[in-house]
Symmetry: C3
Subunit: 304 residues, 3 copies
Amino acid sequence: MIDIQYSPEVAEARAEGRPLVALESTIITHGMPFPQNVETARRVEAEIRAHGAVPATIAVLEGRLHVGLTDNQLDRLGQARDVAKLSRADFAACLARGGDGATTVAATMIAARLAGIEVFATGGIGGVHRGAEDSFDISADLHELAKTPVTVVAAGAKAILDLPKTFEVLETLGVPVIAYGQDMLPAFWSATSDMPAPLRMDSAAAIAAAARMRAAMGLDSGQLVANPIPAEAEIPAEELRPVIEQALAEAEAQGIAAKAVTPFLLGRILELTGGRSLESNIALVLNNARLGAAIAVELGKTRS
Amino acid sequence: MIDIQYSPEVAEARAEGRPLVALESTIITHGMPFPQNVETARRVEAEIRAHGAVPATIAVLEGRLHVGLTDNQLDRLGQARDVAKLSRADFAACLARGGDGATTVAATMIAARLAGIEVFATGGIGGVHRGAEDSFDISADLHELAKTPVTVVAAGAKAILDLPKTFEVLETLGVPVIAYGQDMLPAFWSATSDMPAPLRMDSAAAIAAAARMRAAMGLDSGQLVANPIPAEAEIPAEELRPVIEQALAEAEAQGIAAKAVTPFLLGRILELTGGRSLESNIALVLNNARLGAAIAVELGKTRS
Amino acid sequence: MIDIQYSPEVAEARAEGRPLVALESTIITHGMPFPQNVETARRVEAEIRAHGAVPATIAVLEGRLHVGLTDNQLDRLGQARDVAKLSRADFAACLARGGDGATTVAATMIAARLAGIEVFATGGIGGVHRGAEDSFDISADLHELAKTPVTVVAAGAKAILDLPKTFEVLETLGVPVIAYGQDMLPAFWSATSDMPAPLRMDSAAAIAAAARMRAAMGLDSGQLVANPIPAEAEIPAEELRPVIEQALAEAEAQGIAAKAVTPFLLGRILELTGGRSLESNIALVLNNARLGAAIAVELGKTRS
Ligand SMILES: [Mn+2]
Ligand SMILES: [Mn+2]
Ligand SMILES: [Mn+2]
């Protein structure tokens, strides 16, 4: 077992057996510019507290795994440069050799499990990249959901990905995908899509009960809660589709490849929507934080 | 551990340490019409009893996991509507919220393991769908075989699938594929194919010994026994190929997509073969029940 | 737990707690002709001894798992015919029914774990075959690295494979890929490639520390050390590329398919390079043996 640095707030919550919600840190280091990233992180943490749970933002600082960041640590991380973006493959190496690292969905799930945290709220998971039938570029987040028993609350997978293939892979890997409160899957910035959800649940209690049942059956995997962005903050799919297609066409025309594609697409979508994509992104993360807190509260009622 | 409802027959067999063979229930709810489905299920169960083992048909009834169904329960399931088709992803959710569910290969393997049953007989496993290089549509059965230590006796994968890709995925995942009594893989309705089998075994005892050896090595996965349909009941591959191709062409022409494809293809193949495909299907399931019973008997001699 | 036959040398090393390095045996039975195969195997073993560790060549002889081969056993294996090439899927079956088998990367990892050996040195791992977007032909070695906690030292994946897809799959599966001493990934016969390495480490101690950290985090998987061939022995990528392309074109023109492709390609590359590819192959295996020994020595300092 590794040594985990808990913030005073998280340490106290653990001692008192209060519900905890894990948060990732790549959204801070790679998702938004300073100081907007730190401000958003604080709003997300506050939203979790306001709904009865305790936020635990996860990051690696100087080679130590932190679960819960103090104000100073969050400020420092928000301004740090050359922070590694950690997934399952490089998480241990970062801890072994020192240095700073921000955790993706996969790495945050791993850390949450190590810290005994059962729920994790984020924006969107990674998935199957467009063109993966030729590139084989598929996020490690999908296999992590198949391996690590954490409930992940997200607005689905990021809509620049190939969403149908992403949900096929999750089905193949046996990962429950639960649309919250509707029959269709959400699509990140858009509240709905034309893809029926494999499962639908309408309460945090039902989601918590499903997690408990999976554990009782020995199915040690996660579940993905696909939580639609609030209607007032969404960019409808029919409005967003041409924007994404334009960004994709530009990426291809300019020869943007490999790991440069995602940041390029997100940057162009931000410009082409006049900043709305970022506002939507913040709204959906806050929404996921609220549902994550509610699930953590429900899980807290039945912890063994 | 979850609460399992054992039928009186299965409970007695467990108490006496007699050999058990698991059976799935989607063949009852989604494979054939009533009353043929219930009649066939009873014939399969009788075949297992006649060969020295006890059948344990698995299903979820009103949110409870049943291992072994009474006559009344089987009748009720055979006529039920809107029964969920459960796989690894939605099995726990069905148990958590109640309702009825029939178990696919993946879910039956999970339930068999929970009930301590080491052998499961079925018709054909799911696999890689035709066109999966673009759709990524691959059954969760394949990953379940890689994860759950149950010996599955089937006539290979259903022949409407992409069989070569299905066997490639099983090899990649490290799943033993054992042709019973011949060098070539069977192809569901056809006793043979042009695909050499990775492994061949000629007795139930050899299959049981391989399962025991995998467990001793800590390889906690299943093995697939590909048992050829009896010669007198087969539809030879060269006769079936144009039928499958016609059905596929019709599905494409009519725009049948996603989860509607498999039932459409099976229905058309039934019509185009004048009912022979269903007779073959019943014959191969009975044949798999016999071999499953023989393997269970052999495993019973060496249970630790 | 299965019964393992340790050679006297390996048994003594285990009793004394000395560092061990596992070696595979398909390189002996399927990689080179006799007597060059046995001579090379002896040179590799000697290289490990010269660097402070004890070699443990792994094979199945008459249905028993051997960890460490005596001189006689190695001679016999080097001249045996019809030796099975064992991977995860067929390893147990070979032990259960008897017979001889040589272990691939996947099977050697399984055996190393059973024997408590933490490091394994080889030439190149298997991976994604060219054309796998249509054939789905992907080596079981990749999933084994995701499952079995052994550090594998190789010169990357064999360069006749689709290397970019191979490294994508390893990333998806969360397997650390560590280039040793350089920023770019090696490509088997060539010391470098145009693919940046996900991780770089410059000492055996760093690699050992990363393995220990993964175990402490409960990440029970392997790590791949991609160790570049020594500069003096390499065939530079720009020189090798047309050779590989010619061999691939010939394979296609001659209708070579399935399992016949790899031996055909390796044979043609040997001819087209006038024997240099084999010399390079031997040089890189010796180089990997040295690094494997150094890692085993480092791991020995921190064994719990
Ligand atoms: Mn990727
Ligand atoms: Mn499917
Ligand atoms: Mn292959």
